[in-house]
Structures are given as C-alpha cells and as structure tokens.
C-alpha cells in the first residue's frame, strides 16, 4: 500500500474547518469535503507544486439508505510524481447533487455519468449528463439500496418485484 506521509496539513489549513480529515481510514489518507468546496479542493490538490495529485483514478457513488445524509461520492486520487494516493469523500443529502469535476479531469465525465445512472446523483455543470449503462427510458436507479435485486416486474421481467413489495408506492 501507499505511503501515508502525505502533507495534508497545508490542505486543512487552506480550507480551514471546511475540509476534515477522516481518522478511520487505514489504507490511505482520506478527507471529507462539502460539495460546495469540491471543485476548489480538487484544483488545489492537482495544481499544488508539492502535492501534484494529477490523476483521478475513480469516482464511486454510495447509498446509505435509510441513514441521512443518504448518499456519498468517493473520489480516489493519485499523485503520479509522488506515488501518493488520497481519498475524498463528499456527503450528499436526498435529492443528491454535486458539482462536476469534469473541467479538472476529463476522465470524470463517464464516472459521473455512471454515478448518475446508478444512483441518480446529478452533477451541476456536467457537459453531457445522460444514462450510461441503462437505456434512456429506464425508470429507477439500480444501485440504490431500495432498488430490488431482480428489478421491477414488467412485461420483460416477469420475475421482478412489484412496487408494493419494496414499499416504493404505486
């Protein structure tokens, strides 16, 4: 695993109070960031001469239903020159919305579309926010924890759950 000596003190100082360190993380350092400061933090991490977190590895959507805040976005960054890794966590309330970081890293485009498709998280300012895996007419967000494993019953899916089974109304 990656070294843990990432100099995060300057990040915490720069974003005083708004960005917090996640003490529970063991495999790599982790920061909590509110959605409003996400883009600024990403730009800072990418462009800082010492940190150089120039590579976005992954964006992962999470659903903690029925807890609140219900959703979370997890970003995994890599600093290729320093061989460091960093995790950013962004808590989102229902209905979930976050700013896009596509202008910071081009690769975020499809990752964000995936999170939108699977969790219904919308990304403000995204250049092309459409479903990625599911077809456009698909109803629901399959990776949410209240979405049944077999999907909802319809003409193509006779073994699916009915809406009443999962308490989804209608």
């Amino acid at each position: 695993m990656m070294a843990a000596e990432v100099p995060l003190a300057k990040v915490l100082e720069r974003f005083g109070g708004k960005v917090e360190l996640d003490e529970t993380a063991t495999d790599m350092p982790c920061l909590f960031v509110p959605p409003d400061d996400l883009v600024e933090l990403c730009l800072f991490l990418r462009d800082d001469a010492e940190l150089q977190f120039n590579f976005l590895s992954d964006i992962c959507g999470l659903d903690f239903h029925p807890e609140t805040p219900r959703f979370m976005l997890v970003y995994h960054l890599v600093s290729i020159p320093n061989h460091w890794r960093l995790r950013l966590k962004c808590r989102l309330f229902d209905p979930p919305a976050a700013p896009t970081i596509t202008p910071v890293w081009t690769t975020a485009n499809w990752h964000e579309r995936e999170a939108y498709d699977m969790y219904g998280i919308t990304f403000d300012g995204h250049p092309d926010l459409r479903r990625l895996y599911m077809w456009d007419e698909f109803d629901g967000f399959p990776m949410r924890r209240d979405f049944p494993l077999r999907g909802y019953k319809d003409n193509y899916n006779p073994l699916g759950a009915t809406r009443r089974d999962v308490g989804g109304g209608a």
């Binding site: 976005l56 995790r87 485009n109 895996y133």
Partner: protein
C-alpha cells in the same frame, strides 16, 4: 448497417454533400464485443464519436452485494474475460487487506505466474487483432495459436481454460500440478522466439504502418487527464506501472523493465504491448526459479477450506467449519480499502466497503477498459477518417465485459 440518418444536405457544384449519423456496431467484428459507436460523419471524415455502452451490462456490482465473499470470484472472472486471474487477484487483495491476512509466499508466486500468463494471453489477442482490424489478417492466426498454449497451461493449473476462478481469499485453490513448472518454462522458451517473429512480420509491413503510425496520438498530459492506465498510458511516455511503483504480492522481488514509448500513437500502443510480453516472460521465468515449496492456502478454517480433504471424513470440527464456510461464508471486519493492481489493461481497482457481515456493503470496480474507452470520445490528434477510428479503437484495447460490468 446501411441505414443512415441525414443531418444536413447541401448542394455543391460537384454534387451533394451530406452530413450523416452512422452506426458502427453493436455487432461488428472490429468493435471487439458489443460496442455501439454513433458516428457523425461528413463524408469520410469523422466529426464526432459517441460510444453507446451498456449492451453487456450485467449489474455485476449489484450482484456483488448479494453474494458472499467466496461466491464473488467467478463474477470477477467475467469482467475482463481475457485475463481472469488478474481480476481474481485484485479482488482477493482487497478482501485480504480488510481481513489483515496475507497469502503464503508460494501462493503469491502462483498468483503472479498466472497473472502474467494472463497478461500474455490478453496482449496476444490484441497484438494480433489490431493488425487484423486494419487489414493484416495473418497475424491473428499466429497469435491465437500461441494463446492456445497459454490456455493449455491455465487448464493444466486450474482445470479450466478461461474462467479459472483459481484464486481464493488467503491463497489459491490448489498447488501447481506435478511437472507444471517444466511446462511453463518450455512455453517461455518457445514463445520468446515467436514474439520476435510477430514483430518482424508487422513492423516492416508498410500497409500496417500506414494505418497505425502517427494515428490517434495522445499527449502525456492528455493521457493523464483522461485517466488512461496500462500500456495506453505508458505509450504516451508516462512512466507509471503499479507493479513497480506500488508493488503488491512478490513483484518487488522480480527484476523487470517498465516499457514506455514516446509518441502515444496507435503503433506505440501496439508496440508497448508486444514488448511487455517479453517482460512478462522474464518475470515468469524468475518466479518459477524463485518459488519456494510450502503452503498455498492460509491455515485458517474460518476463511479457507481445508487443504487436506481427508480431514473432512475424519474430523468433525473440520466438517463443521467446512459446512459453515460453504453455507454462510466468512465475515469480514468493518472497514474500507482500495486495492489496485496493474492488470493487462491498466489499473484495476477494487474499492471494498464492509459492514462486518459476510457480504460486501459495496464493491466498486475501477475497470481500466471503461476509462480507456472514453479516450475515443475526445478529439485526439490524427483521428480523421472512419478507418482511423477502427485503428484507434483496436489500439485502446477495451474489453466489453469490463467496460459494461
């Protein structure tokens, strides 16, 4: 696909100029699976590429959440279906990190041998298929012949040619069969000569070069912003390989070079893979030489099935553990981990969150092909004609099982 949608039609002095939308795929030999590309064309010139993915979407990540940790292995096989041992390995590392265990050294060597064999198998397919896509049919027939040798080795080790599921949490399923080391070394000797054959077959082939050289160049900065990894990144001159830069398993005991190229065009991506196979051979030879005797699975009845199957018939305790493990699985402590390995296609990451039960709360796969394929949508230099799209797509080497998850 003959049907096209006309977007704009203008009459010029010499005839009609039409801007059309055209489908490439989803059933087309050079899309390497079920990928649909929507192309906006101005005559033969490509204006815009829009990949439509998801035709192979099986909801793997949703399924992960309802499977026990042992049951997940066969699902990971089917991500990058050309190189299942790598997928198994990455997943096993994530679970082992949360459990706080490590596989025995011999198991680590066996895993690395299999992962490198899988890399050869994956690279062989694309180093043969890319030339075929652009008109050099011969190469694929030869590379498939040699891929057969790799698959035979897989069969000898695991009993299965493709979806091996050989890795277990805490080791591998079985020890290498007798005589396997000799067969692996024999393969290395035969194959080392053949790589050079393929190289001479294609690197002076003018038709092949005209189609791939200086086509689809990706600059180093763009490659990083696009999140490219693996040979696609290294072909653009970025010296980054997790096997060396964040070593897992026993890679820090092996000597190998990280292959990089300068231009980042289709030829470089192809050449990078070709040279990587040589390095893989080197690694396999070292592994076979260094591999110690010993256990191949951790001795923990709560996590791994008993190595000595006779015990099942005699020891009640073993029997109970075996039943518990098979019926309910094992619990993984609460926590989260991101384990990344250098799979043949690039960085394969597993982000595992456990809530303390025997099923993962969330297991996110950062699949390299998914990210690499996105490079097709960006305006990379020198992808101008329809024919260049085919070369570009082949050189990015996406595997749809992994793109669609």
């Amino acid at each position: 696909m003959t049907e096209v949608t006309t977007l704009q039609e203008t009459k010029t002095g010499s005839g009609y100029a039409r801007e059309v939308l055209m489908n490439l795929g989803p059933q087309h030999p050079s899309t390497h699976g079920v990928l649909r590309l929507l192309l906006q064309m101005d005559g033969e010139i490509v204006e815009r590429i829009e990949p439509h993915i998801g035709l192979l979407h099986r909801g793997t990540e949703k399924l992960f959440e309802s499977f026990t940790y042992t049951q997940i292995f066969p699902l990971t096989d089917r991500l990058d279906y050309l190189c299942p041992p790598s997928n198994n390995l990455g997943y096993a590392l994530a679970v082992e990190a949360l459990l706080g265990i490590e596989a025995p050294i011999r198991a680590q060597y066996i895993r690395v041998i299999m992962a490198e064999l899988a890399r050869i198998s994956g690279h062989l397919l694309i180093t043969g298929a890319l030339p075929m896509d652009v008109g050099a049919m011969t190469s694929l027939l030869y590379t498939m012949r040699d891929r057969e040798m790799v698959l035979d080795l897989m069969e000898m080790i695991s009993g299965v040619r493709m979806h091996t599921s050989f890795v277990r949490v805490g080791g591998v399923r079985e020890d290498l069969p007798e005589g396997c080391e000799a067969r692996i070394l024999e393969f290395c000797d035969i194959f080392a000569d053949r790589i050079s054959d393929y190289e001479t077959l294609l690197k002076n082939n003018r038709i092949f070069l005209a189609r791939v050289e200086n086509i689809g160049n990706i600059a180093a900065g763009d490659a990083i912003a696009l999140g490219l990894t693996g040979p696609n990144l290294r072909a653009s001159g970025v010296d980054w390989d997790l096997r060396r830069d964040a070593p897992y398993e026993i890679y820090d005991r092996l000597e190998f070079n990280v292959i990089t190229r300068k231009d980042g065009d289709c030829y470089d991506r192809w050449k990078c893979r070709l040279d990587e196979m040589r390095e893989s051979l080197r690694m396999i030879r070292q592994c076979v030489k260094q591999m110690p005797k010993g256990d191949f699975l951790v001795d923990d009845p709560k996590i791994a099935f008993p190595v000595d199957k006779d015990l099942l018939a005699h020891s009640m305790e073993t029997h109970i553990h075996h039943f518990e493990l098979a019926a309910y699985g094992f619990k993984v402590p609460k926590g989260e981990v991101y384990a990344a390995i250098e799979a043949p296609k690039g960085e394969l990451g597993y982000y595992l969150i456990s809530d303390g039960s025997e099923k993962p709360f969330r297991l996110k796969v950062r699949s390299p092909s998914f990210v690499n394929l996105q490079a097709l949508t960006e305006r990379t230099t020198n992808v101008k004609y329809l024919a260049d799209v085919i070369a570009m797509l082949g050189s990015l080497d996406p595997v749809m099982g992994e793109v669609d998850k």
